[in-house]
Subunit: 340 residues, 4 copies
Amino acid sequence: MIIVMEQGATEGQVQHVIELVREMGLREHVIVGTERTVVAVLGDDRNKDKDKLENAGGVEKVMPVLAPYKMASKEAKKERSVVPLGGTLGGSAGGKKLALIAGPCSVEDRVKLLEVAHAVKEAGATGLRGGAFKPRTSPYAFQGMGEKGLEILAEARAQTGLAVVTEVMSIDQVDLVCRYADVLQVGARNMQNFNLLWAVGETRKPVLLKRGISATLEEFMLAAEYIMSRGNSQVILCERGIRTFETHCRNTLPLATVPEVRRISHLPIIVDPSQGTGHAHLVPDMCKAAVACGADGLIIECHSDPEHALTDGAQSITPQVLKNLYASLKKIAAAVDREI
Amino acid sequence: MIIVMEQGATEGQVQHVIELVREMGLREHVIVGTERTVVAVLGDDRNKDKDKLENAGGVEKVMPVLAPYKMASKEAKKERSVVPLGGTLGGSAGGKKLALIAGPCSVEDRVKLLEVAHAVKEAGATGLRGGAFKPRTSPYAFQGMGEKGLEILAEARAQTGLAVVTEVMSIDQVDLVCRYADVLQVGARNMQNFNLLWAVGETRKPVLLKRGISATLEEFMLAAEYIMSRGNSQVILCERGIRTFETHCRNTLPLATVPEVRRISHLPIIVDPSQGTGHAHLVPDMCKAAVACGADGLIIECHSDPEHALTDGAQSITPQVLKNLYASLKKIAAAVDREI
Amino acid sequence: MIIVMEQGATEGQVQHVIELVREMGLREHVIVGTERTVVAVLGDDRNKDKDKLENAGGVEKVMPVLAPYKMASKEAKKERSVVPLGGTLGGSAGGKKLALIAGPCSVEDRVKLLEVAHAVKEAGATGLRGGAFKPRTSPYAFQGMGEKGLEILAEARAQTGLAVVTEVMSIDQVDLVCRYADVLQVGARNMQNFNLLWAVGETRKPVLLKRGISATLEEFMLAAEYIMSRGNSQVILCERGIRTFETHCRNTLPLATVPEVRRISHLPIIVDPSQGTGHAHLVPDMCKAAVACGADGLIIECHSDPEHALTDGAQSITPQVLKNLYASLKKIAAAVDREI
Amino acid sequence: MIIVMEQGATEGQVQHVIELVREMGLREHVIVGTERTVVAVLGDDRNKDKDKLENAGGVEKVMPVLAPYKMASKEAKKERSVVPLGGTLGGSAGGKKLALIAGPCSVEDRVKLLEVAHAVKEAGATGLRGGAFKPRTSPYAFQGMGEKGLEILAEARAQTGLAVVTEVMSIDQVDLVCRYADVLQVGARNMQNFNLLWAVGETRKPVLLKRGISATLEEFMLAAEYIMSRGNSQVILCERGIRTFETHCRNTLPLATVPEVRRISHLPIIVDPSQGTGHAHLVPDMCKAAVACGADGLIIECHSDPEHALTDGAQSITPQVLKNLYASLKKIAAAVDREI
């Protein structure tokens, strides 16, 4: 870290800062400039509460130099990680071939789910999404089918070979969901539910971790670090849109996350254009953009009859739209030296 | 809800929308204007997934008329709720007298905690805050003392009479924290951890619910509704700052939340100017502002030696600063016909 | 508009609202629902200050039905507008072939500008960007070469045939810039400098209008409407990133603007990935994404020696990077049935 | 500035950075840490385009140490500036006594304006606001009365002694507005209309500079610096709300701006709770909060008949509400050792 002293800070104040630095087990290097005195701190201060030094007399600001995450960073591992999705179709995220995960927001009905599973497989998907436990803003809304929904997903996998990607909302659901799912999804609202992160970190299932609606990339990487620090390095990051002042879309999809994550981390990064926009009419174009800028995959809400969906109908496309889209995505993937 | 049809929507499209409305158990009222046809929907549609109607042909947009929460709303209960804090000093939130809750970010050490508890009591507080379980952005940071911390908080209550306000992060901690705490705090990161909301909703302890860093007021009220829908109506709302583009402060403290919540809800609303700004030098003035605009209380991070705090030192004021502040707050409270 | 009355609003209050509606020259249609009374307003209220009705007793909220812009909207003109850029290379925005505009942030030197102009032409550009008048956050920063810069740009056009796109910051510069430029750029900071919008609306030059850093799409369309309302319909919209809480990039590039603008407007929409990210290493991937999601063109900061640029070096790519990028863009354009 | 090199940056890369630093007329100080090499730069780099160094090989990031403004900063002038408003009532901003400026959003009618002027004077104001030139989001909306409006404002001053505060939108209006106004207002949308800032900087009228809707404090101070750099140091800063994701209010009023500006600058800072919230029912409480946290004054939209206001009716309070509010403000001001 770099500690910038106020103009006119006294020698005693600088000395006091030096003592605080040494108490933290670090060493200092003082630079007396023409405008400011600066204390550069040497050593690994990633896990220190640096901000408290702001309170010391004469300190203007404290600037971190090191990113606080390690295992998720490019420094820890140069080559990109490839995380297999499971199922029998050989899908994975992080390799040359993109992951394509599609399915309804929530599992609502056995017959409909099986039907859409076959349809998304035919449209090119290797993973099936579908929530059995649904985090809902209102306590009065449909909360998912629970274990019954998981059973239906497993049946769909048996019929199609698609990997099952489904959300786990709470530590007491982890064992149950692990019995049925191939990939555990941690939703955006739970990105900083640290006990849940630890719990999925103790499983050996791949984890699809969604970015929190207002999480910085540093917080996103640290959430991955929580999972990895418990021994599970199969983390797939997912950009699903952030909350901004924009009103024409439910969320703002900031696709620059994709190349930036690829720059700073070895973990695969996929994109959810359904949550990322909130409107079905924006989904196909945002899928194309995501593939063009290097995403390692897509997770798309797909429903045979969106007008009657119990959840998220507004942002679901139909299997037919997905199928048409897939043809374009193949060309774009080829243009950026990938496959789908 | 109001369904606005596109210019040029066909009669068949309007008819289809009417059918969808009726399938939802609601009735329609069609208004053919000069510019648009509008379908006004009659009946209580609070729990319906209205947005899916966006997908129907010819629909331009869907606008909700009713707020989706009920028990937390002013409509459900006209008079303001008063929630007692517990402890032996008679503090409460929502009445004429304001709640003043102070203490360190986390419990770090028995002797220091007892010292600061006596100091904040002397400075005017009736509640003691302090985390035993700490949600930390980094997995490598100090995570709190756990049950040992809860024991120290209980000892501080025994010595001072202060009500103990402490965070519960996870459903498996609820029973344990209930044994020691007077008020269960649900942190901003868990405002939409719905399983946790239900779990604290099943206790009979007051719950201090912090607004999520990017939650709308509607989402905030619905989080309260989750707790209340399980039978616990003792909810204290807490504004603790939102994430914006501003860089000079850790969070932006949007104090208009206070009069707005008092307009739409009967629940007490208090303010956390420590989290709400992130900098000790801004805390006293924001405390004054919060009281002036009608807050039902304050929760303040207070540490005897912020430079050595294990967590959140940058935003902690000392007991001496709190004491001086208290004198000003008394005058401001009087100016707005309140007491502290 | 729809006026939603409070629960329990009196008949007198509804009557008063009706009178206010009629005073505005509009007609009302009252719907008494089970939960609320709603006053639907008939007639074109686009230019009325509707919000003041909020102040009437018993009113809960006022919801607009009609978008306030007309000439920029799809309703006014179904087919997409094609705006020629000028120059002798035949570039335009809005047709099948994309506009590619590149060049330095500011004109700094005659020799360097001519060199980069030839280089971007060779890399595929048909437009040359470069600021002669530069809006700078600091009054102490380089403010551009003024008319001398415009002369250099015109010389570059004479040598290369590239259309000259350059910013006009102030109404007193409009005539001067018109003498040299092919396309007048209105920068993000001036998107709501209404006098400037009117002034460029009175010229017959194409206007490249950048979205304000925190403008809603409605405000963006209304800014275009200002220009069009003075008789100039040659407006090219440009998404150049918005301000959010994100810290890894200077601005957040919300590409869903592209398909949304194409849905609501007939005007061409291009993308500026340089301003839109602030970092050269993100620019190529964001160019690809922009083309994939349907942008009508790109405007890219390109400098032969970014380390020595006087302005915006951090976000400038070199002509060589542009040339390599162009090859990928061609393939992606083809995949979405466009050309570049 | 501090230049942080990537892990594994080569000696050659460090050497190249040193050369770039020296080319900028600055000196370097290299610190080889255990984790990173850091190049601390000595000398005043306030006016340099530092970010371009990001492009040099091996550079991870560039962190500024010095704030880029000077004349507006506390370093330039320790004691607080007091800016007289004009008129004959002796109002000023920045001293012990607060400025209270009230009046309609726009001048709409001579009789009504004179009436409200007398009313706000009686309610305690020493300044009269009212727009003759109105920046409007839509080109079809009422744009103000122009010079006729200015004449009416001057007549109101003659009758009441109130200082006239009115907006200037464009450089060609500066002379005209100066002939009538006591204080020139630069609106939020023009905070970075740099030519306008220079033009008002060349007058000798006090300037009320509103914060842009998404301006950082640094950009706000630099806008003041533009004005001051032309010789006009009579700048009154005004916080008027920022754009965030919040939907219950038109803007979010971030009152921590007040103590922060008082910490970093000598310029007075006042608050506009009308624009700052967008809803009349929030204005009184936000006025109280602003005074409590140290604002140097208030500017409030006040209209005798808000339901019929041509502009901003939703956020205007009546003179009667202002009068009642004034009594509370007096007490709160006294509690923080101020007067109003």
